[in-house]
Symmetry: D2
Subunit: 260 residues, 4 copies
């Protein structure tokens, strides 16, 4: 029997009258949801409904805080001083904690969104700000971070439990970073290809880059994107394929080896 | 020895580069601060600093949630469906709870702001939405509401502890509502006049309207405004006058008779 | 040969990463577009692209200003003082005028959005504020207003050209107002039913209420909604049916009798 | 008799309930106002009042567009794609053009704000985006840009009239850039010191850096800051000192040699 593995997705990204993603369907498949907190997407009612649906499906909830940039969906880099950024993260996570509490559910992990996540993966100082803010709010929160990133390192250094994730639909470069979306071959297309990509890496215990380079990792979570046409099909293919291969699917707090 | 009495003020109303109020001075005088939560005023860093200063001064902190209307400072009436308004309140209070936790402090009460407060004082259904949202987030939170208001009633009906407040600088109408600011005599001017206004009502155990009507209340908190020129002088005059008269000043959670 | 008639639709309602409506398809059918101006929907890039596509299709452009309430899509009533509301309208219309100028196109009409429009249809003072703001910005702008509304009256009183519109998919009450969406029979369903509804009223020269009451109007424009599943089919059915019936379809500035 | 010289200041930076700057007093002294357009500061009513006061004082008005970041006051760097940034600039300038038109005044120049201005002074591609957007909206608009900046160059390359400005209260580095505020000696303190700093540079026809380096410039405008305690005193000292020295003070459109 293989160890537990987790499927996570970024959800709750609708806003007001605007809908995004197949949240209801995704929440029947994934084990953990990263819920937008209102700065780059989501609003209080969307958050409330997303958390309620997650609870009904036994899906664990994490905060998915981002830059204060609705129009840019948190994908535009912003230079925000460390103390202000820390306060913004605590505010967003706290808001979701309140929403979850009112729904009888709990926030158990944090995963930064978009440009903030990308920047924190390569900038050790920014990563330390993020990890420090999470720890200051609640040292029991788990940090969900890309495998081999500065963010994962900063989380451990701050004393947080860290779960490392790999991406089902993205190709890796030899240094462990993602092939930028602008380059050919950046994306893995189709549920079956995504499943093979994931299975190969899990069985190797390594990121496998486009040139074959192997970078040993202990990834316990797989990120599936929730906002493209094949999202639900890919999530289902991963869930079913992983089960067939003998993996137990689990929510983030149940991952036994969360502390590396 | 007279029972404990509380001085509260709306603080943390700066936003980004814009400053408002004499928060540092006020936090040396009042016992409890109603802290704006980012929807009508305040931002995460302002909230964080306000809570930290409150903690240093032994001032208890309450959430001061408002309508999502920065430009209108939460003073413009908005028609928001009940489920959405409840989610907005939970979001804002939760955000401040998170900020307070990160600062080693706690949020112990809630007081709605501006147009939301005014509307909830006279609209029983809206008041029930507000009280229900607070209770759903945390039944241990205390509701700070104007004496004799529908909001105070709704808080008790929802099972919340309710502390009723009177206003140091506002005249009352015979039905217990405030004289609208647009009318002559709406405002009580000057620290000494405010102190006399408050002392008369406390000793009578009643709101005293402009025509002399007495409406029995059990007010345990006095609201002093933080954003006008005399705010600090008025707050000091009240604190000193109340002490001279034998009242013990206390933070909201320490008010013995908070549960009516 | 019958006089010219206009098809208008509310477009440009996407925002950032969130898409809404079938704008490209609608802009191939309608004659005039009411373009959201960034307060309740739309953003500068969406506005720019919508205007550019309108220009390519020979579609005239109007400003569709709303309340400053993205999350509520401008559908929530707000109480905004007259001078501030006037400034908000001028700001939004001016922004679209600038965007149109940069695209080599022009803004030729104004139609308020959502709750603002609903309120201005029945509140003469608010209607006068809206019409006055439009006139102050540019007395050559045409006001597109529901037939028989206070807004249409206020526009004429302010000296603006007014084009009155009827709704293809909404039933009317005997006083000329729309049956509220919450009531059964409020909506006309299906392209053919919408076409019949419109043709009957055009031929009668009157609004025809659900009880058969006829209210004479000189409607020159028909509003088709752009955000539901059948929007494009309905718009095409109207265009084709009106042409077959001998009507000439025209952009708003080309309506010969715009000045009543 | 010396040529005309201009005093400009960034004004209209209040927002909603929050006040900033001594606009009324400054508008009695300066010749041209750069008016915030609602993205980083200002709101429609503030804009309207600022333009009306400028008109009464014979002060010319320019648009002062910034990043969409109220909380950060437009001082935080953001990475915004060129087409989106251009649309944002056109939107903001257009909005102010509308407001000015409604007040019977006109927008005659543009000066970017804060981080956007700083970035456009050193990044030629960004500068070209800014200049191109201004030109696309209205080729008759004048670009007000720091002397020797990439932005000034880009404005001329785009075919715009460019007026170059120097700062009354900032020291220069040998390459013509400002000494960063974080370094000692960055700021010139006091009205008399600012006047001497300006007069020395005007008479030399050159920026004079802290090490004595002279960089020939044709600066026709002097920027005085509107948001510090001495702003009004400094502006008056400059106005009076320049007049005593024989300079004619003029609004930006009246600068004879605006086209270099």
């Amino acid at each position: 029997m293989k160890g537990p593995i987790n499927l996570n997705a970024d959800l709750g990204e609708s806003f007001g009258a605007w809908s995004m993603g197949e949240d209801a369907a995704m929440l029947e498949v994934v084990n953990s949801a990263n819920v937008a907190c209102g700065f780059h997407a989501g609003d209080p009612l969307v958050m409330s409904r997303t958390v309620a649906t997650a609870k009904r499906n036994g899906v664990s909830v994490g905060a998915h805080p981002g830059f204060p940039d609705l129009q840019g969906f948190g994908r535009r880099r912003m230079d925000i001083p460390a103390d202000e950024l820390a306060a913004m993260l605590i505010y967003q996570i706290g808001a979701l904690v309140g929403v979850a509490r009112a729904e009888g559910h709990a926030v158990t992990h944090v995963k930064p969104h978009g440009a903030l996540n990308n920047m924190a993966c390569v900038d050790a100082a920014l990563a330390a700000t993020v990890a420090g803010a999470v720890h200051r709010l609640d040292p029991g929160l788990i940090l969900l971070a890309p495998a081999l990133s500065k963010l994962a390192e900063a989380g451990r250094a701050a004393g947080l439990r860290v779960v490392e994730e790999i991406f089902a639909d993205r190709a890796y470069q030899p240094d462990g970073s993602l092939v930028p979306r602008s380059r050919p071959g950046a994306m893995i297309h189709g549920p079956e290809a995504c499943l093979r990509h994931v299975m190969t890496m899990l069985e190797a215990g390594a990121l496998i880059a486009v040139d074959g380079t192997r970078l040993p990792v202990r990834a316990q979570s797989i990120c599936v994107h929730g906002d493209d046409a094949e999202a639900v099909a890919t999530a289902r293919a991963l869930r079913d394929g992983l089960r067939r291969a003998g993996y137990e699917l689990a929510a983030i707090p149940a991952l036994s080896g969360a502390r590396p």
